[in-house]
Symmetry: C2
Subunit: 346 residues, 2 copies
DNA sequence: CTGTTAGCGCCTTCAT
DNA sequence: ATGAAGGCGCTAACAG
């Protein structure tokens, strides 16, 4: 049987209260006493029972993290960053992978994090009002990655502006007939980026005197395969686009593949720009909008931890991180030298 | 303040013991009583405090999952499958992402799962003796994915045989000068596959009268970039290989890219076979060894749950799942038709 | 079938 | 600076 706080107290010759104080580094413990306790604890290989501690204190030192799909690059990257921050602070991470709209419904109706976490991180979900209410009913600090909600902490990028930047890069290269390969804004899983990137795409066109043409907006479902299929459709148009903005690098990969399979050249015949700066974007020479992925997760986790540590500063804040246009060979032929250099040194 | 079991008991007009029994679906409760309790619980929006339950029962309904890197495809896929099985059984999943050899050391010395999980799943780590001892000291059911250990549950594939199959496919096509792009068997993170796949590779060559040539064995570090760099080295050899076996599809992608950049053709000049059947392998027309990734994770989780539910059947078992050679255009030119079909329908 | 009563192992006032 | 003692909310015998 594992040692309990009482065993440590006996061995150290003090009360269990003193053991508790010493082990948690509370003040008002004599240095000599603390040392005795630490020695006894080490000797017995003691670790406090988290459940007893949580029951008594009401705090769980656990954060729930909700992702739509762990196995997709973006979410996995965020998750890794969050885990790293939490484990360094001695917090546990309870993972909830929604997986589907049924999983999502189930999560928000059951709220399996109830009574077991101190805060919740929600990644990239466009929350419905009901979902927001459900989260609020937890009466816990909530962190959202990818969208701002009053009362919640948030970290995100400016998707509208980033999409505009992408389109403006293409316009600046002389393109006027620009297609979009995006996520489904009606998707039952409701991700946030598609809405904003679509808005930015259309806004940028309009501000350059180009009328958005819905036949040039196709769904790529955030997968390589989807991007390829969408591009095939675009290539079948009477008047095909000269440039494509894909809302993710993975869809851009599919688009490039479709273009080349059709015997056309990137960027000579059709320029392609992606979004994310996925790890293989340099390798595939893809121009893209870089966003700090792990950094967003780490920042959000840190904000939540800070609010738990110091409930005074619990002012929910909204952090908007910078994105950056990374020009490579898929939009500017001569840029490929840069890309080669990047790929070789990475 | 959230409702407690006492509130429910009062409202239902029964004792807290009866509430507990009713809510947990234990036998020996009159149907009418149970209904009253359930109604009261619903009315008060009651959920039991897991910590109190865990303290009292000694069970946590939580499983710890340890992965080397969440953000890598294979591990993320496994994690998603494990999460799905656990959440369906009402179990919590505590995630531990090692991230580096320091993170690994820290995990096994601190054992942050102590006193908080009912079982542990370890993914793809070649465990040292000390690590095995550390896990055993938990006195919990341990599940290992990717390697067998006496006393632990395990699910895996036969990496040696699978690698042999890959090489035999190449030999069958007439290749004799076959290179390997693999993981580092001296990597501080010590993954299991590299050792076994290297063994299978060499064994297959030998059994066909081909002497393994170490200059044809290169490190690709399980990344696209690493695979490309390894292939560049192989292409620089006085006598270059006519075929390459990469221990992962991602390394194979890099190899194919290096080959094409060098102005050579796949498979005409150099055939390439990968490992995993990664989701984009069909798209990139890569011959590979398919292994059931999510299935391995789901199976292992289910085994552990079964052993917790029915401690009698707690016989640690070792399940070896099937792998399958998937022939596509990177080894057999005429196979590309199949690949196109696959890609179009997937 | 249902109620009573000890704990589970720790945190946290409140004294001293 | 330290100790004593009362919960935290539930489970699990044990009665009845």
């Amino acid at each position: 049987m594992a040692a309990s706080i009482e065993d440590v107290a006996k061995l150290a010759g003090v009360s269990i209260a003193t053991v508790s104080r010493s082990l948690r580094g509370l003040p008002d413990v004599a240095a000599a006493t603390r040392d005795k306790v630490l020695a006894a604890a080490r000797e017995l290989d003691y670790v406090a029972s988290p459940f007893a501690a949580r029951l008594a204190s009401g705090r769980s030192s656990t954060i729930g993290v909700v992702v739509p799909f762990v196995h997709r690059w973006f979410f996995a990257e965020v998750l890794g960053a969050v885990e790293s921050v939490l484990s360094q602070s001695g917090f546990d991470l309870l993972l909830h992978n929604l997986g589907s709209s049924e999983g999502r419904e189930q999560f928000f109706s059951i709220l399996p994090v109830r009574k077991r976490v101190d805060a919740v991180v929600v990644v990239s979900l466009a929350l419905t009002e009901d979902e927001v209410e459900a989260l609020k009913s937890l009466e816990l600090p909530i962190g959202v990655l990818g969208a701002a909600h009053p009362g919640f902490f948030s970290v995100r990028i400016d998707d509208v502006a980033a999409a505009q930047t992408a389109v403006e890069h293409l316009v600046g290269l002389g393109h006027r007939r620009i297609a979009l390969i995006g996520g489904d804004t009606d998707d039952p899983m409701r991700f946030t980026p598609p809405h904003h990137r679509l808005t930015g795409f259309r806004d940028a066109l309009i501000s350059h005197g180009i009328t958005p043409d819905e036949s040039l907006e196709r769904l790529g479902y955030f997968t390589v395969e989807g991007g390829e299929a969408a591009m095939v459709q675009l290539l079948g148009l009477p008047e095909r686009p000269t440039a494509v903005f894909a809302e993710s690098d993975e869809m851009a990969y599919g688009a490039m593949r479709a273009i080349r399979r059709a015997g056309l050249r990137v960027p000579a015949d059709i320029a392609v720009i992606g979004f994310d700066d996925h790890q293989t974007a340099g390798l595939l020479d893809l121009t893209t909008i870089r966003q700090p992925v792990a950094e967003q997760g780490a920042k959000l986790a840190a904000m939540l931890l800070a609010s738990l540590t110091n409930p005074d500063s619990a002012q929910p804040s909204d952090v908007v991180m910078e994105t950056e246009l990374v020009v490579r060979g898929s939009t500017v032929a001569s840029a490929s030298e840069y890309a080669d250099t990047t790929a070789a040194t990475s």
